[in-house]
Symmetry: C2
Subunit: 225 residues, 2 copies
């Protein structure tokens, strides 16, 4: 396993593919995971076309997990539990699992400007509850616009609140710095993910009301440099 | 009733007094309400000392409501229902009630970095549920630092998400523009207050982790000018 590799499960979706492009552009090996191998391979081709020389491959989700110590879950909320259950036997305490999902009410056929309640408190804590003991989960990237991630010529201009256990939290804070315009912000314990996930629904409403298809982002003011 | 007056119930507290100072400085008549008349009057004296010529008076909460069409609730969450019940008979559909409370877990003796669940969905919706039919409620100002409000020489540097019915929402969006550095952002329907209130708990955690006693704020990126 390449210790610098980053796996993105659901990396064929808009936001996952956006992160794949950005991490590949930063020179990191990227493994795109999907339930369907062909879709993963097609997404990997897309990254290679946009980022010449990118170290990227497409695999099915379970194989992708075996190739990278950092595993980002970028699947719609309704596929989160299923995806985690399909790969969890391959996850170890040496992995860092990153939850970027949001329990948008689209999962039940309602709108993306609302959320559904999650018994565990948040999507990130749902993920944590399904993993073998000792596998760390960190919450991040929920509020980063897919559209802006994919515009490689422009910085993204968004803060990323990173929540989870201290050591893996630092790993993910460092990941944020790979993407121009992203800033990782120390979001404390994983349970704070509930607040960060709620912001996503708010931002989606702002995108609609202010007609910003590129996506509104968030910055915190007053933080030390 | 002066149509430009702003009443702030709980205006003797840090954040309410901060808003009173800012609105007085912008030339608006301000009525500070408190459960105790003497405390309201002392706070009014404090505003007059900081803002020479300020049009400010201190009254008990129920009398304050009779003096202004805009009524801002700036009381700790655990006093919200009691305060609303004490004044609701004097509130009319011509009022705009502004909820700036957050259901911080301090209400039950736990910490300010966490919230408690509110049956109605948010503090703002709790307030709405307690008011006579037709009295509009708007949610705003939750994430504005009291410390920064009180530093009159400096802009506040924070966006204010304003949620509620369209017409009163516009009234409160205009209020935001009275304070240098605040920007009102159209937050859609009142139910979105739950997401905005959650951000407060997140910001309080950031203040602690990053040692920013002045208070971290929030800005949205990508909004049209």
């Amino acid at each position: 396993m390449d210790p610098t590799a980053i796996a993105i499960l659901g990396g064929t979706g808009d936001q996952g593919l956006g992160l794949a492009l950005r991490f590949a552009k930063a020179g990191r090996p990227v493994v795109i995971g999907s339930r369907k191998l062909e879709r993963a391979q097609a997404a990997a081709d897309e990254v290679r076309a946009a980022v010449p020389g990118a170290g990227v491959e497409g695999l099915d989700n379970a194989d992708a997990v075996g190739k990278a110590p950092i595993v980002i879950l970028s699947v719609p909320f309704e596929h989160t539990a299923g995806t985690v259950k399909a790969v969890r036997e391959r996850l170890t305490p040496e992995h860092v699992v990153v939850s970027m999902g949001v329990p948008l009410a689209t999962a039940i056929g309602d709108g993306a400007v609302r959320t559904v309640g999650v018994w565990q408190g948040s999507c990130a804590e749902l993920v944590a509850s399904l993993l073998p003991e000792g596998v760390p989960v960190v919450s991040a990237f929920q509020n980063v616009s897919a559209h802006r991630l994919r515009e490689l010529a422009h910085p993204v201009e968004c803060d990323v609140v990173v929540s989870g256990p201290p050591a893996p939290r630092k790993v993910v804070l460092a990941l944020c710095e790979l993407v121009p315009g992203l800033r990782g912000v120390d979001g404390g314990p994983l349970a704070n993910a509930r607040y960060v996930e709620g912001v996503t629904a708010l931002l989606i409403g702002l995108n609609v009301r202010y007609k910003v298809p590129e996506g509104v982002g968030v910055r915190f003011t007053g933080l030390p440099d």
